[in-house]
């Protein structure tokens, strides 16, 4: 089953009076349960693709289907719903809310999605075991290492069981040891639980953890 389909996808935005063509016709298919890495130099359009697939910005033209839902026809509130239910984000800078504990950072994602009970489902408990952060959930981000923060960010991204996990340079702020741990976790989530993952990275070693690597340059997929 195909999870993500992008055809002839373009994105043009204006910087002052200049039109910038960030995506110039991207065709991409990601099967359900696939772990795909997107690599490419700065300005190649990786982040723009990430933002479109995550519903953070609308495409200019083309077709994008995620889990069967067409992003091109989506309103702002539809994209908000998409972020709430269908995609999960992991960022380079972790982006945890600094005033909340790790556990509360996960809970707020559940709350936003409309789940108010304290009970979690067994599948998410397994994810927490896989991430190895159960003992760190009562700490605020400032008391956690970068690797721990990123694993909590992964847990937060997965708590609502998204069809697609989007990771933007998830190891960009981590040392080698923590990078290996986080990438192993992502790989484990993909292999053991069948989580579909799209990861953006500059690092070929990180990309090697994925099933498939896609290269972008100048707003197009070149490989």
């Amino acid at each position: 089953m195909t999870n993500v389909v992008a055809q002839s996808l373009t994105k043009t935005y204006r910087v002052g009076e200049i039109e910038v063509h960030a995506l110039r016709g991207v065709d991409l298919k990601i099967e359900a349960g696939e772990f795909v890495a997107i690599v490419g130099p700065s300005g190649s359009g990786k982040s723009t693709l990430f933002n479109i697939l995550g519903g953070l910005t609308p495409p200019t033209s083309g077709t994008v289907l995620i889990d069967g839902r067409d992003l091109i026809k989506m309103s702002e509130s539809d994209r908000t719903l998409l972020r709430k239910t269908t995609v999960g984000f992991v960022f380079q800078k972790y982006n945890l809310l600094p005033t909340l504990t790790g556990g509360d950072n996960i809970e707020i994602a559940r709350h936003i999605a409309g789940h108010n009970g304290k009970e979690r489902d067994p599948q998410f408990e397994e994810i927490l075991k896989l991430l190895g952060i159960s003992s760190r959930l009562h700490h605020k981000p400032r008391a956690l290492s970068g690797g721990e923060q990123q694993r909590i960010a992964i847990a937060r991204a997965l708590v609502n069981h998204p069809a697609l996990l989007l990771a933007d340079e998830p190891t960009g702020n981590l040392d080698t040891e923590n990078s290996t741990a986080v990438l192993s976790v992502l790989q484990g989530l993909n292999k053991r639980l069948g989580q579909t993952i799209l990861m953006i990275t500059h690092n070929p070693e990180a990309a090697a953890y994925a099933d498939r690597t896609v290269t972008m340059r100048d707003g197009r997929i070149v490989n």
Partner: protein, 348 residues
């Protein structure tokens, strides 16, 4: 710090309103209490008297006419001369007034004996740089303080009525006539009889007269209260608006995170509004506590402005503070809700 300042500003807004209302009520209640302190049952005023103001246009011979009426035990005329917005001198027949009121109780000095002697109460003396017997005081005419008496009897300043009539071209005239009956139960009957005999004059029982001492009966107090409430709400609105605007700027990245997690504009507005409600409620509680402080300060530095504590205003003032705070939050909240998620996530 920003939160503390916001709470304090809302507290000041609440204190401002509660203090104004409390002082209005306190001053009027004090005036009512002093009117009761005359010991009179009925008050007769000139036809042109408005509210609780006095002129001196009533013929003094009316006092004798009233004294001859059934059930009238005592009647005495007073002569009131306004000096400025806050001060007036009340001319009295000392013996008659003492007999009716139970007597002015001297704290220092003595009651007036010379023509230019002025007796003041303890509040007036304290408010005017701690006046002492023997001190002169210039109210257009130089009076000499002969004694200081306990407060609570009609006025804060007393002089001999004859001297007042002479000084202010009011010979044979009085401002009001206070009547004490043989039995207070006869008040309505005597009042009705007097009103029949003196149809153009204002004849009121003392209780009817003191009922005029309410903020609703004094148009300028009501208008002034509204203006101060308006200013207080504006202060609360501006402080909360600025505070929440700063909060939204400080939390730009956090708002971006929430948006990335799927938070709707309503969810983000809700978070900020809940925070505002907490600020307003805590600020209101602090403001209520601070009114005890303003009452103490007024007691020390403005004794003629007694402040009542007004619990019946706690709920309305909480509503006022809440409304100002919520309105002040709307713009920052809507700005936060409309923030672009990608830009917000890139904010450092």
């Amino acid at each position: 710090m920003r939160t503390l300042l916001s709470v304090f500003a809302i507290g000041v807004e609440v204190t401002l309103i509660l203090t104004l209302v409390g002082v209005s009520r306190g001053v009027l209640s004090d005036m009512a209490s002093r009117s009761r302190g005359t010991g009179a049952d009925i008050l007769v005023r000139a036809p042109e008297s408005a509210g609780f103001s006095f002129s001196y246009t009533m013929p003094e011979k009316l006092v004798g006419f009233i004294r001859a009426k059934p059930h009238v035990a005592m009647a005495t005329g007073t002569f009131v001369k306004s000096i400025d917005s806050f001060n007036s001198i009340t001319g009295i027949h000392l013996d008659e007034f003492n007999a009716m009121s139970g007597g002015l109780k001297v704290i220092k000095g003595r009651l007036f004996q010379g023509p230019d002697d002025l007796v003041v109460d303890e509040i007036f003396a304290k408010q005017h740089h701690n006046l002492q017997p023997g001190d002169p005081i210039d109210f257009g005419h130089t009076w000499r303080i002969s004694g200081i008496v306990e407060q609570g009897k009609l006025s804060r300043t007393f002089a001999d009525i004859g001297r007042m009539q002479e000084l202010y071209s009011g010979n044979g005239l009085v401002s009001a006539i206070y009547i004490k009956l043989d039995n207070s139960a006869n008040t309505d009957a005597v009042k009705a009889a007097l009103q029949k005999d003196l149809p153009t004059y204002k004849v009121d029982s003392i209780e009817e007269f003191v009922s005029l001492f309410s903020t609703n009966s004094v148009p300028y107090i009501e208008a002034f209260t509204k203006v101060v409430i308006g200013i207080a709400v504006l202060i609360g609105f501006l402080v909360v608006c600025l505070s929440m605007y700063t909060a939204v700027l400080e939390r730009t990245r956090e708002i971006g995170i929430l948006k990335a997690l799927g938070a709707s504009p309503g969810y983000i507005v809700g978070i900020l509004l809940r925070e505002t409600v907490m600020l307003a409620l805590v600020g209101t509680a602090i403001g209520i506590l601070m009114t005890y402080g303003t009452r103490s300060l007024l007691g020390m530095f403005a004794v003629s402005f007694p402040q009542e504590i007004v619990p019946d205003w706690y709920l309305p003032v909480a509503g006022i503070a809440l409304t100002g705070a919520i309105v002040g939050t709307l713009y920052p909240a809507l700005r936060a809700a409309r923030q672009d998620a990608i830009e917000a996530l890139a904010y450092d």
